[in-house]
Assembly symmetry: C2
Homo-oligomer: 307 residues x 2
């Protein structure tokens, strides 16, 4: 089934111990869409500027992604620069030029209104809520957020969380949102804010999903997918969005939402995140095959599997 | 089969967000011995002072631990004070009074010379090497170390690593020892120093074991055991030594060292570490049953298990 992602398309400058890349296609919606495209049909709602060229759109179209919802505005596309110096898990932001993204008001094309799966990438929580309310056919909404929104638009974010079925954030964001340093306790506090499930991403250590009582009718035991120890992390940018793309994309490709589907989705999220970091930008996500994805799924599975 | 542990017995003062405890029995050898005692016979070589009372020895004896190698010296037992303020993964040391531990020269009782399994807890690497060379029947030596020895006795540590079959350290120690920030690359560098296998403990995220080419004849794919998300971490002291006790104790209880045994051992390590932190000091490790241990083993297994 189709999944709609609303978020940023950007051009990034990235510096890591492996080197430097400039003006490469990035943005949360881009990483999410590419990762999800290996599992299901993907539609993108985003805004770009006049510097977004046909070759950039081709990156998405080649993966069968519906780009009809990418709005063109006068001006430049969102640009971000970041460096990973000592810590590959956290970027130091060198600059953020919002450009056309500053006045982004997501327009949902009529042809997208039947979307059954929705992912609200990391944008202003009020915009997330507006989009969610416009889509009456949605049966599962995933969402992301970040420290900035937790701090500066907390009330708005709390409203949005009531509309999100599965929130995907990292350890630090979960602890900040819950104002609680113990992770399982933080998870329960976040679940009390609305989501039925919370995926906490641990970077190189994998991810854990926590469930609210009664969520999806599948019990409340948490589940964890490990991540692969990766020798060559070239560019961690987009790993979290690629994780979300694999996770939501796999769920959207299945006929039912049950515990086993969600468990496998968590593994596929980790798989897509691990591929994303192997090259600068979206390079690796453009060139994968489903065979490569399923082979790594097996490696992940065996990483923690007892006979 | 019997496992011999050489290391510290101590009295600890611990402050954590859950409260404070004073003069509680601790030390690496104590935690290790208690954890391992649920799997196999354990012998302890350590030194204590005149403040080590029969009731302290009873804690070990009740678990069937052979305390014949605990030497009594004039003076006080090693005392350590630590606080876990914002970070449950790392203690702030309030004080270290080595006392009788300062002149610890491990004496191996004649009755211990047939030990087939040996764990060198965190002591001076030259003492570790001396003990290892004295025990000619040992078929598997596990070892620990810490930042202090990596920095101040690096050459001695390098010699000791050639005698250690399985080194168990945490992420930060592995990166420091290898002078390499990427974990899998750090692991390979440490393995090149001597050990056949390296267990890297990730705290609340579990542990990963890396193998050197040809080690134990079981392939080089790493294996990871997840940890349980724990809501109530009362006192993280001794979690790493309890992990080592579960890991080494389980291996010593088996007839063969193969991949499946080592994988299960990694899970049992995580299980014992997770119990250790539930109460201050060794309280929880004194009162467990094998049934409780195996029940948690199943929970850990299911935490990442796909159908």
């Amino acid at each position: 089934m189709s999944i709609l992602v609303v978020g940023s398309v950007a051009f990034d400058n990235v510096t890591s111990p492996s080197g430097r890349a400039e003006n490469i296609l990035g943005g949360a919606a881009t990483y999410f869409a590419l990762a999800a495209s290996y599992f299901t049909n993907v539609r993108v709602v985003a805004v770009v500027g006049e510097d977004f060229m046909p070759e950039h759109e081709t990156v998405l179209k080649k993966r069968g992604i519906d780009t009809g919802g990418i709005e063109r505005s006068k001006g430049k596309t969102f640009r971000w620069g970041g460096s990973y110096v000592d810590n590959l898990n956290e970027a130091k932001t060198d600059f953020t030029d919002l450009n056309v993204f500053e006045n982004f008001h997501p327009q949902i094309p009529a042809a997208y209104k039947d979307s059954e799966f929705l992912f609200l990438a990391n944008i202003h929580p009020t915009l997330q809520a507006t989009v969610q309310r416009e889509l009456s056919n949605v049966k599962l909404t995933g969402g992301d957020t970040m420290n900035y929104w937790i701090r500066s638009t907390n009330a708005e974010l709390r409203d949005t969380l009531k509309l999100v079925n599965i929130l995907l954030i990292n350890d630090g964001e979960a602890k900040m949102l819950a104002n609680e340093s113990n992770l399982p306790r933080a998870a329960h506090k976040v679940l009390a804010m609305g989501p039925q499930a919370l995926v906490i991403k641990h970077g190189e250590y994998g991810a854990t999903i926590f469930f609210r009582e009664g969520a999806f009718g599948i019990g409340t035991h948490p589940f964890r997918a490990p991540a692969l120890p990766i020798e060559e992390v070239k560019d961690p940018t987009g790993a979290g969005d690629s994780f979300a793309g694999g996770f939501m994309g796999y769920i959207a490709s299945q006929n039912a939402i049950n515990r086993e589907v969600i468990k496998r989705a968590l593994f596929y999220g980790g798989v897509m995140g691990s591929f994303a970091v192997e090259q600068f930008g979206t390079g690796r996500l453009q060139s994968l095959t489903r065979g490569e994805i399923d082979a790594r799924f097996q490696v992940f599975r065996e990483l923690t599997h007892l006979e």
